[in-house]
């Protein structure tokens, strides 16, 4: 029963983890804006989040107690790690030193990702507050 309460938080937790990974990725791109030959990377956030949360059990899912029960998905968390699914940014303008960092786009993505990270933080805070008021019952 107690994990029912935290299950709702798991999805947001995964999203937060991926947001911070993406933030680091964009920070790396900005850091390497002047490095010759550096290729900018980014991730397909929706796809990565789906891959990371597919393994999560749905809230209120049935437990398979018999071998002939239809399973409701493995409960193993993938931990939100990213790696091979990283994509390469398409250069908007060619550069003599083969660097593909587009500073305008990176700055925009960085601000966008920071706001969405904060939004995820608020969702988690709201979830926690709801659970707390349900527990105290006041």
């Amino acid at each position: 029963m107690p994990n029912r309460i935290t299950d709702a938080l798991d999805f947001q937790g995964q999203a937060l983890q991926l947001r911070s990974e993406r933030q680091r990725l964009i920070a790396s791109n900005i850091a390497n804006a002047d490095t010759p030959g550096y290729v900018a990377r980014d991730m397909d956030f929706a796809k990565t989040l789906r891959a990371a949360t597919d393994a999560l059990p749905l809230a209120g899912a049935l437990a398979a107690t018999n071998a002939r029960h239809i399973g409701s998905g493995a409960a193993a968390l993938s931990g939100g790690r990213i790696g091979s699914e990283l994509l390469y940014a398409t250069p908007a303008q060619t550069n003599l030193d083969r660097n593909t960092v587009d500073m305008d786009r990176e700055r925009a993505s960085f601000a966008d990702n920071a706001i969405k990270y904060e939004a995820t933080l608020r969702f988690i805070n709201g979830n926690v507050r709801t659970s707390l008021s349900a527990i105290t019952g006041q």
Partner: protein, 139 residues
């Protein structure tokens, strides 16, 4: 806490950019120096950046810092001016100045300082987000 390594990444970039700024400063300072008795004038220097992976695992591309790999000297011959009265003039009356191009250095300086600012702003944003993460669940 994967966001903590943003400080390593952006910090390495800021350090590399400040080294670039240092080299630009010494180039500009020596823009008008002349060749000494050995006949060699100051040669303009330039830094070359290289990506340095900083993730916990060996080939993690998500944390890519920067470091200065080499500082190279510009080998083009320096400016030669005919001025027989100059104390450093050679036997033919020519003075050899350094090969620093002041305009190029100014452009380099602006680019370095902009990149430095960019990295500082990235660090500030990461700091704000991390501070809010610390307060997670407190209401």
């Amino acid at each position: 806490m994967s966001m903590l390594s943003i400080f390593n990444v952006s910090g390495s970039a800021a350090s590399a950019q400040s080294q670039r700024l240092n080299v630009v400063a010494s180039n500009l300072a020596n823009a008008d120096t002349v060749a000494g008795p050995d006949g060699h004038a100051y040669k303009a220097r330039q830094v070359t950046f290289q990506t340095e992976l900083m993730g916990q695992t060996a080939n993690d591309p998500t944390a890519a810092g920067v470091r200065v790999s080499t500082v190279s000297e510009d080998q083009t011959p320096g400016r030669r001016v005919h001025d027989p009265k100059h104390p450093s003039a050679d036997a033919d009356g020519y003075v050899t100045y350094s090969n620093v191009n002041a305009v190029e250095e100014m452009v380099n300086m602006i680019s370095a300082s902009r990149s430095y600012q960019n990295n500082l702003e990235v660090m500030n944003t990461a700091k704000t987000l991390l501070l809010k993460t610390i307060q997670l669940g407190q209401g």
